[in-house]
Point group: C2
Chain length 215, copies 2
Amino acid sequence: MRLAELSERSGVAAATIKYYLREGLLPPGDRVTATQADYGTAHLQRLKLVRALIQVGRVPVAAAKDVLAALEDDSLDHHARLGVAVEALPNAPEPDPDDPYAQAARASVDAVIDGLGWQYGGSDPRGSSGAYLTLLAAVTALARLGYPCGAEELAPYARAAAQTAVTDLDLVERYESPAEQVEAAVALTVLYEPVLLSLRRLAQAQESARRFVRP
Amino acid sequence: MRLAELSERSGVAAATIKYYLREGLLPPGDRVTATQADYGTAHLQRLKLVRALIQVGRVPVAAAKDVLAALEDDSLDHHARLGVAVEALPNAPEPDPDDPYAQAARASVDAVIDGLGWQYGGSDPRGSSGAYLTLLAAVTALARLGYPCGAEELAPYARAAAQTAVTDLDLVERYESPAEQVEAAVALTVLYEPVLLSLRRLAQAQESARRFVRP
DNA sequence: GATGGTTAGATAGTGACACTCTCCAAGGAA
DNA sequence: TTCCTTGGAGAGTGTCACTATCTAACCATC
């Protein structure tokens, strides 16, 4: 199909598709002539994923490009490809090692991780994980505001996260081919985030009503 | 204290504080003379909250202003104030009623909500909740990508969210005064979001290693 | 009582980001 | 032949969260 048809079928403006092509988020179409190219259903599928990552998952364009590149890196095994794709998502920077709040946050976080028996291998230390750094930054900010976020407070959330991860991987394992699994893992990781947060807010409203509203 | 001291104690650039004052995120200081104002510890606390909302919670400045305004609206009761504050956070718009994906998403979401027995009162219908709309948008995007997100898939996530909400409200109820509780609710809702998402990604990495990596 | 350094407040500018517009030459259709 | 469309490239747009500059007033010091 032509770019115009790709635009119509995906609902994405033609100029935006050109921009994604330029940025390398979409592979170029098959060049038919010097001024025309042909796009297939794989392009349509990829375009939908890109849109969902950017608009629903709020992933920056540059990060989305890295994520998609990891999806197609055949030199990695399954687990590693998942890791690389998720690692390409935006994360917090390394904290200031002299900040006492950051030190306390690290202690709490490590206690929770160890308490749940989570293990890190030699090639995959916890410090190299972007999620770990993002977690440190958030806990540091909470501590600085004076909110409780020691290991006792974090543990229930970590247990809920562990449950969620089991559900996530069950969904991923429904797919048969490794390629589908990796794409599903990225899509489900990123696109379920607003789902989880919205469900939490709805649940909070229920719980708040249950506790604070006299019927 | 002077603006310069407020800046030093909070770690926020003086120009940024001026910007927040201009935007109404911080109340003005007590004017001492025509060119000097005095700020107290309440300003410092508020400034830290603003920073955390914007930088950790990624709340837009305009939304943060609305959230803070709701914190101080004495005309509302406790539960309503929580609702208004959380509702001021950014949410997805109303979906296109003709979109079949959106219709299917609404059916799934409603089934999950009803399945958990969540109730909505007359003054608080589910359709008026921003979290509900954001949830619909995310589920619609997943469905459009071809990922499973029926009631069966969403239910485990909703149960995890319900658990999380109980933990959240337990933390909120540690505070004694209503004012502290409302501020804590906002801070914990927004600032625990990156905590939850980071913990989920760490848990996913563990679960992925457990399933896919042969020791 | 001149002087140098701050201060609050206003205005304009910056850089990042995600598009979006405009133009161009080459194809294809009427 | 004429007109419209296409893919591609560069420049422009709007938004957002700051940030730099300026100005008049103020305070402390000499």
